[in-house]
Amino acid sequence: MKFACYTLLVFTALFAACERVDVPANKTSGSQGLEGESASQFGAPPATQSLFQRIANSRQVTTFQGVRRVELFVDEGAVQHHSVLRERVSADGHGAFAIESLELIEPPMSNSQHALFIALQSLRQGMNWRYRDFSIHDVGLFLQNYRVTDTGVLDVVAGHPVIELLVERVDQSGSLYTLLVDSATGLVLKAHEESQEHVLISEMCYESLELAPDLSGVVWHQELNNEEPLPAIGPLTATVGFEPLVARALPAGFQLLERTSVIEPLNNSKWVKATFTDGVENLFFLHGGPIVGDNGIKSGVPEIEADLVEVTVAAPWTVARGNLRTQRVIALGKVSEADLLHLLRSALE
């Protein structure tokens, strides 16, 4: 009978191994093995570690100003959208920054539309800085989830010598990045992002860059959205008025980066925004608390009803939102629909 028991155990183990494994939000970052893998591919481990740290910190500690061209692609169903703009980026090396949109090259639009877009871009500069532009949000997670290859190519961007790095997730999901990095400062002077199918997603390249320039005329970015930091763990009812749902099943490699509260301007209701990262990409889960009055999530067609999630894909981004169990929830990220729905389910369990 022992043989039968062992057989049963082996089969059970095999099937369990094939099942999806949820990654808890509190998994420890900085796997030594993967760090070694990344480091060995890059060459010298100490230099690699300091380079990644420099890239992560570069925008905060470097005083610079430059003009860059940004190209963005979004797929909305079968329709592909392409936009190109130029912007001036400034940073004082102490955390202050500004992204001033200079012109929208594509798509063509009327003067009033152009002026409105430029004005709205100035309101979005904080999100562009934090979430649109390539940056390493957590070096430990980056080393755990990403593989970096130094191609050996030496180039010059905006008059500055750069090295070329290929950055991709070790599990071969997500975007592929080709970065041209000023190794002296760690600034990413050119970033080319494409999908696993090698479809271009975005490209940014500095046309000019000046280190330690005169920044006396710069109008620095000011927070406009009343976003307030919250404790990463612990009850929040006293702070935000409700106990936020917790997403327990995250896509592989993601961990909680921060929790904040934001105000929805239309009805002044409060949301708790949990931002997760795999080191580079960001994933957001927002909980707006229970529906009060008429502040439930609205939609086009069909109207969002109770316990119904509406999924919208603007590739590479996916958005899932709904009024679930009388709670308002939104999840968005550069991940699959299945990952977002799994995250939403885990928050309701």
Binding site: F11, F73, A78, L120, M127, Q222, V309, T312, V313, A320
Partner: protein, 241 residues
């Protein structure tokens, strides 16, 4: 591409004064005695004509009321944010007083020992696990008691009496293995089909193929993380990559 705004600041000032001469009904409140330049004069005449044309449009108040919410949503709660941004950007930077600098330096100089992140995570796990984890820890910490010798002797005698001189025949083992294989395989199929376990927080899912259906809040979030590409998408439909 031109922004449509006057290039010269003095023109801008002159035109702002000219606008005040146009009434809310599109009428001319007072004719300007002179214009700053010929371009300003052309601009003023065009603006006056536009104001009259706009005022002559039939008003559909009821529909306008229903559009208010959409307009506000589209413009991020009206122009408040733009006005706030303009007001903020026009402010001069005020240096912090020396006393504040000293206080901040003093505060930063203190040795702030925060708990390591892993500790936070472990505490969160402990809290979220509930009583199960503590019960498991308590049970595993119990001292294992040895069975009394008399019980060992009884079990030994019983095993000796029930022991068979020969093991199961080979074909019996094959039958057992085959049965196990079928049972485990069926269990795995049931498991993969999602049967046999409680449905976790089910909800219906619908798909939309346009960001136009997004509510203003979600749309503004998506616009932020995509660098405004979503806003442009609405005016850029069909451009081939």
């Amino acid at each position: 591409m031109s922004s449509g705004l006057p290039i010269r600041p003095d023109c801008q000032v002159a035109r702002e004064l000219l606008v005040e001469r146009i009434g809310s009904a599109g009428n001319l409140l007072a004719s300007p005695r002179e214009f700053h330049c010929s371009a300003c004069q052309v601009w003023f005449e065009r603006s006056l004509a536009q104001a009259r044309a706009l005022n002559a449009l039939p008003r559909r108040i009821a529909e306008l009321h229903s559009l208010d919410g959409l307009v506000v949503a589209e413009l991020n709660a009206g122009c408040r944010q733009e006005r706030a941004a303009a007001a903020l950007t026009s402010l001069e930077r005020v240096d912090a007083p020396c006393e504040l600098d000293l206080l901040v330096s003093e505060y930063l100089g203190r040795a702030v020992h925060e708990a390591p992140r892993e500790l936070d995570q472990r505490v969160a796990k402990e809290i979220s696990a509930g009583a199960g984890l503590r019960a498991e820890r308590q049970v595993s910490a119990l001292e294992r008691l040895a069975a009394p010798a008399a019980l060992d002797a009884i079990v030994g005698r019983a095993l000796t009496q029930s022991a068979r001189p020969h093991g199961l025949p080979l074909r019996r083992w094959i039958a057992v293995a085959a049965t196990l294989f079928v049972v485990v395989g069926a269990a795995s199929l049931v498991r993969q089909a999602g049967l046999g376990k409680p449905k976790p927080s089910e909800f219906r899912v619908v798909h939309t193929h346009s960001v136009a259906s997004l509510d203003p809040f979600t749309r503004s979030l998506l616009s932020g993380v995509t660098g405004g590409a979503i806003e442009l998408a609405a005016q850029n439909r069909g451009t081939a990559r």
